[in-house]
Symmetry: none
Subunit: 203 residues, 4 copies
DNA sequence: GATTAACCGAGACGGTACGTCACGTCTTTAA
DNA sequence: TTAAAGACGTGACGTACCGTCTCGGTTAATC
């Protein structure tokens, strides 16, 4: 499980060095990530000041910057931390898997607050090489469950062996992002059904 | 032609009111929009300071804030102002229209500087009702050329009359946005061909 | 009759030139001086903005600056305009004259609002040659009534012929200014009596 | 020792509180007060901008506003800080004391730069309760040396026991202020001599 | 137990941008 | 020519935030 490159993973440090001196306070990482998510969701990433965050958690700013190199690194970590992994969908049929997965995706996209953070990270990543890499990782990770569903269906023969998986993933996932960020159109069951009908007309 | 809600359209005002007092300096709007686009592209929207912008255009900050209520309103207006409308594509066939249109879209997405501004506006629009409305307008406008192409093809019988146009537009356009903003994958000819093959398999 | 050097006196202009074009609106000078005094008294000279003043009088800023070269010139003119000249005191005795004059001076200093403007003019006059000259004129004028009283008393023999008038005036008037501007001590009848007892012990 | 109400006196805080956090940079208060006096003297209080002041001292504006709530509070503090206390005059006779003290007062009033700041503070104090209190303190303090001289002379019998000290102080000091701020008349030895001859004719 | 090194809170620091405000000038149309 | 309206450049204001630094004071592992 992904020790991100932007945050210093406490556990990882513990195992490789004896670490003299006072150890980092337990639970502070957790508390900060949670509070970051809350605050960023409430008032936006730009609206969230590090001073306020520190005060709310009862921590000094130095303590934050000892753990993350910048506000954005913290925010990205908070975003990654917030993902409840999709529990592995496996109904036995492509139809069933898609219904389950895309239904939950639509629901998350519609109600999930965390996504409000994404635009900020996208913006900063335009100028920040480091952050862009982390963001790419994050994005790739989010595609994995659907990729598994597709590939399993190919294995079962429900989809042709020469299916263009990458583009298929794009065509399925990106409309969700697009509607969430840009057009603000609804993502209801009807939308999901029509999208599947379009890109996977056979089933 | 869309007089946006965020900027005061000089022409519109001229026609409805006698306009007393010293009129707005001619060309300043134009110069500011252009410079905004340049600066925002060079250093990012956040990196662009209103003081520097004013100085570069040879204008006072007050003059800017007299025209736009905030930095974001200005940036959005600059973005809308920057769109060179797609010249109407009409090769006679859906195949030809798509090749032309999507080719240019891919090229713009890859090299177009303006898109760096989009993420910033997306972020702010999450919290700013007004801006979100303007952004929605902008997005809808950008979809129009492709919609025309599709509907023309339906008229010619190249596409079935019950084609789900809205979702089809989503499925075609959003992967470009997705790759531009999130996955940073390439948008070459190969990608375009494969995407079309997926969503419009017949053609 | 106080045609100040800082303001263009409407009457004076009328008599020396035929003045082509639209004549200056009558009463505007008066209205501006009055409003200036009011505003400056309400919110202080610094707190009074020319825009607000213009709006309140229903006049454009250009109209003001056509009449006075600067805010301070206007304010000074307003101050001079506001002085109700002391009606000539002449009771026949020094004692009586002083009682009357100093009593009214104390009352004006205590309740007069106009004096709040003085400190501002003093400050600006430090850096403004022109204004300082005008202010000096104003000050000298204010001393005149008391000077007359003293000199009349000398003529009557109530005061020795070698009385040091200038310093005597200083010693009498300046404590009023001092208490008004700096120490904020009271200026009641008792104070007047004691001051006279000090500088004019014989009477 | 005058811990002013407008500035946070570092020493005072140290003794009463444990002082957590990074301590205020040493010498910055001093440097700011000095530079303020210089700048205000050079270009006037209004002509002195906080940005320039900060830059000249090599300090950020926030650092200034952390120490004083406003420009005026800073300026007043600078003024109080600048007073070189009159070394206690004691020649043994009233005559000698007055010659010494008033001579220096006249010299300071004539050449002293600090007094240019006073008019500004007077103006602001009209609207600012807080500042007025501080200014009153300052004024009272400045009167003290002369008060001592007078009272000592009373003790020696050089002045009658029922001398009206307060009004006497007014009558001596205020003409200096008056000439400095308003009439701009000279304050030479002759003036001092004549003033003393007037208010203290016996000696 | 003493040392030591990293931690902790608080909060001051330099830098930089923000959006507002006022002054005095300039440029329109209307009278 | 003057008037009202109001845009203009200049430049200061005081606030906010970032990321760094500096205090005095813990808190373990090492000596």
């Amino acid at each position: 499980m992904p020790a991100t490159t932007t945050s210093v993973d406490a556990a990882a440090e513990t195992e490789c060095a004896p670490r003299r001196g006072r150890p980092r306070s337990a639970g502070v990482d957790e508390a900060l990530l949670t509070a970051t998510l809350e605050l960023a969701t409430e008032v936006g990433v730009n609206g969230m000041s590090m001073d306020v965050l520190a005060q709310r958690v009862g921590v000094s700013k130095a303590t934050i910057y000892r753990r993350w190199p910048s506000k954005e690194a913290l925010v990205l970590d908070a975003l990654q931390h917030a993902i409840k992994p999709f529990e592995q969908v496996d109904t036995g049929t492509l139809r069933g898997d898609l219904d389950l997965y895309l239904g939950e995706l639509a629901e998350r996209m519609t109600n999930g607050s965390a996504s409000d953070i994404l635009p900020h990270l996208i913006e900063v990543s335009v100028r920040d090489e480091m952050l862009r890499a982390s963001l790419d990782d994050y994005v790739r990770m989010r595609r994995q469950p659907l990729r598994t569903i597709i590939e399993r269906a190919m294995g079962r023969g429900e989809l042709p062996a020469d299916t263009d998986v990458d583009v298929l993933l794009d065509a399925i996932i990106s409309p969700f992002i697009y509607r969430r960020l840009l057009s603000h159109d609804a993502m209801d069951d009807d939308f999901v059904r029509r999208l599947v009908a379009l890109v996977l007309p056979g089933i």
